[in-house]
């Protein structure tokens, strides 16, 4: 039994706060850290007599998300009430969608989409006291600023098979949503939140195991760690011959502890019914047209274009597409480089964007001191053999630190490429003299230690010489 290999089966539920001008069902502006309870009105406070009015921009954004995920857009969509009592829910129900969601089906990357629906966010509860949870706290305070913020809930099919796949796919989703401009998609600030439905089964079988729901993990790292921990817990239970219980779980990223929030028996009966305060939303052809017209190029399409039209290799094309900020910087630099003579090569430029990104620690290059034009100019110098790879990296370091124009840096620092026998031959000779043992080996036909000589020359020229050319001169000096 113990050598059974288990396979995780994971479905994700993602809540995306939409960046609309106003809340989902009232005209309050959205809140970005304003003092508590300053972005509220009778409607989002759920005062007696108030009524919801749906936000057309949120529906528009919902349709754009549906289009981006290849979903079917409903011709008619209705809101439901999801009833439960909690202090962060001022009406005693959340207006959500149930059996007629805005969008159904679809696919993003290797994961199928089940549905996309719209709903309103709850208010923010803060529990004062030791536990930080409502149970056992001394007091709880509610900030209704967030209450009523439009949310799109995206539900996937159970197509995810590992923690890594989950976080990779979420990154793709985040980029897609960012490209659409419908959300800030910031996990730390809660504008992108993820729950995971997790079960495991013996690899190769098709029956689904009992699933648990892991709530509200607020970073890619926690999602990976949370899923991994839960998959591990379920595997251990099964190996010990114990059942997995259907329950809702909380993952504590500090302790890695998984605790139960509620069991199946304690699950709410939400008593969904059609929201009588809202007539059905008719999705007209004009609304679909507006959504289509607002669609930017999405990561999958960009990846295909970068690979086929510009001839980038698949890995680079994917990196620049999935991390849209790198793609945008690359394309801006490519535009700038097109005017240069000769035009900079797309693949080299892409490689240098990768170089730049590695120096920025995840920061958006558009926020750095390096301009797309400067990077294009740098790549141009390398392409024209006026700068070696090594020297170019030094120039890039300077650009990252101080900004400026590559040509001027090369000039000021005398980093221009050194080449030709008359410049390099004396340095090669000095190197051979400095390392007589190596020289002997080379003369004897053992070329392995040639790196020592090349390294000497590179050091002397501060990386401005071309390695291949130096090797050729060494051979010439040795009469080979």
């Amino acid at each position: 039994m113990s050598d059974v290999v288990y396979e995780p089966v994971i479905g994700l539920e993602i809540h995306v706060q939409l960046r609309t001008r106003t809340k989902m069902f009232c005209s309050c502006p959205l809140s970005f850290g304003e003092p508590p309870n300053t972005r509220t009105c009778p409607v989002c406070l759920g005062l007696p007599g108030t009524l919801p009015v749906p936000n057309a921009e949120a529906i528009h954004f919902g349709l754009m998300i549906g289009l981006a995920l290849g979903s079917e857009l409903a011709p008619r969509s209705i809101f439901h009430r999801k009833n439960y009592f909690y202090p962060d829910l001022p009406k005693g129900y959340q207006i959500s969608q149930y059996d007629e969601p805005l969008c159904s089906g679809g696919r993003l990357g290797d994961v199928r989409i089940h549905r996309v629906h719209l709903e309103e966010d709850a208010a923010k509860l803060t529990h004062v006291g030791a536990s930080g949870r409502i149970h056992g706290s001394d007091a709880s305070v509610v900030d209704f600023n967030r209450g009523g913020t439009p949310l799109a809930e995206i539900v996937t099919e159970p197509d995810v098979r590992s923690a890594e796949q989950a976080s990779d796919w979420l990154r793709l989703l985040r980029t897609t949503l960012r490209q659409l401009g419908v959300s800030d998609v910031n996990m730390e600030e809660g504008s992108l939140r993820c729950d995971a439905n997790i079960s495991v089964r013996p690899a190769g079988t098709s029956e689904l195991g009992t699933k648990t729901e892991l709530k509200n993990m607020n970073s890619f790292r926690f999602i990976e760690r949370g899923i991994r921990a839960e998959v591990g817990r379920q595997e251990a239970l099964l190996r010990a011959g114990e059942p997995v219980l259907q329950e809702t779980l909380h993952f504590d990223p500090r302790t890695e502890a998984i605790t139960s929030l509620r069991s199946k028996e304690e699950a709410h009966d939400y008593r969904y019914f059609p929201e009588p305060d809202l007539p059905p939303v008719r999705i007209t052809e004009a609304m679909r047209g507006r959504a289509r017209g607002a669609m930017p190029e999405l990561p999958a399409a960009r990846e295909a274009r970068l690979a086929s039209v510009l001839g980038l290799n698949v890995e680079t094309a994917r990196l620049l597409s999935w991390r849209a900020e790198l793609g945008d910087f690359f394309e801006a630099a490519l535009d700038a480089g097109a005017a240069m003579s000769p035009p900079v090569a797309a693949q080299s430029l892409a490689n240098w964007v990768t170089e730049l990104s590695a120096r920025l620690d995840g920061e958006d290059p558009a926020e750095s001191k390096v301009t797309p034009k400067a990077l294009a100019a740098l790549v141009g110098l390398v392409g024209a053999r006026r700068l070696t790879q090594g020297a170019a990296k030094q120039v890039l370091d300077r650009l990252v630190a101080e900004g400026g124009d590559p040509e001027a840096i090369v000039e000021a620092e005398s980093l221009g490429a050194v080449g030709g026998a008359e410049e390099l031959a004396p340095i090669v000779r000095a190197a051979l003299e400095a390392h007589p043992d190596v020289a002997d080996k080379l003369r004897g036909g053992d070329m392995k230690p040639i790196g020592v000589i090349v390294g000497y020359v590179m050091k002397e020229t501060r990386g401005r010489a071309d390695g291949g050319e130096v090797t050729a001169i060494v051979r010439a000096e040795l009469g080979q």
């Binding site: 759920g46 005062l47 007696p48 007599g49 009524l51 009015v53 202090p87 009588p276 305060d277 809202l278």
Partner: protein, 479 residues
């Protein structure tokens, strides 16, 4: 003018008197204010101290005072919906239709008593005491807009706003001998009405006569950016002028005429009114609304279901009553235990059950199907006739306490009014005579948005019937 003469005027007549310079809006207000402040029917829960400072006296309603059912939110003025859970609640905003009427020149005279959250047919479910019927103080005024109906009948207010979910304007209007109009669902904004059942609630006028009903309704209709279900009215509401009913085809539904508990006196007054209609040139025929006998059952699933959700917000967290307790669930439980009355609790329980997983299809789903059928049957009936006519209520005003122990007997009061509510169509109740010295109401119902024609027909009938309401008017307040 003498107070006695002022009180005898309908709202439209008072406006004419003001326009002729015979009456001053302040004088009119003072006369009613004094009566409302002294009344002993339990009709008011709050009475204005003085004429509002921001009165739009040039507006078409010329400052004529208006009584408003408690469940309409009025900024800074108690709006408690007859419930202890909202005792002392002062809303920060005013309901759209009240604002509209104020802008048209109505002045807020007071808030009127009602069954708690509009749940009741006798006004005995109010946390603020019962309302007495000015025709006989031992009897109920009907409900849930009982305070509004009694106030208008007793000359404590020239007219009043009520709301109708399953008959809450029409039935008290009938029991108090006045006119009550339940408009087409969606023609008046619900924003600011403390909700009972959202898909059924509709505001409407309670008035001395049909002309006043048309005048008040005219200034209530309209779309509202705060209410997605408010579609307004396709026609401007006219003041009715008809005196004849020539060519008008009235239908008496066979299924309703055979209804349970119809008192002989009510039936006699109803038949007499049909005779009057024929005399005015109308034809009366029998029509069929096959599903109508199931309307009451469907209504008592749908309305409580919506109510169970609408009333969830009264949880003691943000406003209204809070009964402190050691933990959240106990606070919720105690607050709602102490804050809600028995009938409200009963309906919350029924509604919660009807929506529960596993029961939804059998109850709520099925009730919605009945509702759809009823709406279709009305539409088909209106292809052959102009209006459906029924008694408004199977009985005249009953004695206080007579039905409080028997909820089902109480629910039967809505037998004739609920089908129209489910169909969302307009219906008006006018007094058509007396039985045992108590008023009987006649209900006329028409297709959606047929208010102008409906008001015209009611106007012609009203004139021909010549109902005398002076006995209640005189009984309203200490002389």
């Amino acid at each position: 003018m003498e107070v006695h003469d002022i009180i005898a005027l309908s709202a439209a007549q008072a406006i004419s008197a003001i326009d002729r310079g015979e009456l001053d809006p302040a004088e009119l207000f003072a006369a009613y204010r004094a009566r409302a402040a002294e009344e002993d029917l339990g009709a008011f829960t709050w009475v204005a101290e003085h004429l509002p400072g921001d009165l739009h006296a040039d507006g078409p309603l010329r400052g004529v005072p208006l009584a408003v059912k408690d469940l309409f939110c009025t900024e800074g003025i108690p709006s408690q919906s007859g419930s202890r859970i909202l005792e002392g609640y002062l809303p920060p905003y005013t309901a759209t239709c009240v604002t509209r009427l104020q802008e048209a020149g109505a002045s807020l005279l007071g808030k009127t008593n009602q069954d708690e959250f509009a749940m009741g047919s006798s006004n005995e479910n109010s946390a603020y005491g019962p309302v007495l019927n000015p025709w006989d103080r031992g009897r109920v005024p009907g409900g849930s807009s009982g305070g509004s109906a009694a106030a208008v009948a007793a000359g404590l207010a020239p007219w009043a706003l009520g709301t109708d979910t399953g008959g809450s304007i029409r039935q008290p209007a009938a029991l108090c001998g006045i006119v009550g109009l339940k408009p087409t669902y969606g023609s008046v904004s619900r924003y600011g009405m403390i909700a009972f059942a959202s898909s059924l609630d509709q505001a409407g006028p309670l008035t001395r006569d049909v002309t006043d009903a048309a005048l008040l309704y005219r200034h209530m209709v309209g779309t509202d950016p705060c209410d997605a279900t408010a579609v307004g009215h396709p026609e401007e509401i006219r003041l009715p002028t008809a005196e004849r009913l020539d060519g008008l085809r009235l239908g008496v539904p066979a299924e309703l005429a055979a209804g349970e508990g119809l008192e002989p006196g009510v039936l006699a007054a109803f038949d007499q009114a049909l005779e009057t209609a024929r005399g005015l040139g109308a034809t009366v025929e029998t029509c069929s609304l096959e599903s109508a006998p199931h309307a009451l059952s469907a209504y008592y699933v749908i309305a409580p279901a919506e109510a169970s959700s609408n009333l969830a917000r009264f949880d003691g967290v943000r406003y209204g009553l809070r009964v402190p307790a050691d933990d959240l669930v106990s606070m919720y439980t105690r607050t709602r235990h102490d804050g809600f009355g028995a009938e409200v609790k009963r309906r919350i329980l029924i509604g919660t059950y009807a929506l529960s997983s596993g029961y939804y299809d059998a109850y709520y789903g099925r009730a919605q199907k009945v509702r759809t059928l009823i709406a279709r049957e009305f539409a088909s009936v209106f292809e052959g006739i102009d209006f459906v006519v029924t008694p408004t209520s199977p009985t005249v005003a009953f004695e206080l306490g007579a039905k409080t122990a028997d909820p089902l007997a109480m629910y039967l009061n809505d037998y004739f009014t609920v089908p129209m509510s489910l169909a969302g169509i307009p219906a008006i109740s006018i007094p058509c005579g007396l039985a045992d010295d108590l008023p009987v109401g006649l209900q006329l119902a028409g297709p959606a948005f047929s208010e102008n024609r409906l008001l015209d027909a009611a106007h012609a009938l009203e004139h021909a019937i010549g109902f005398d309401a002076s006995r209640a008017l005189a009984a309203g307040a200490p002389a």
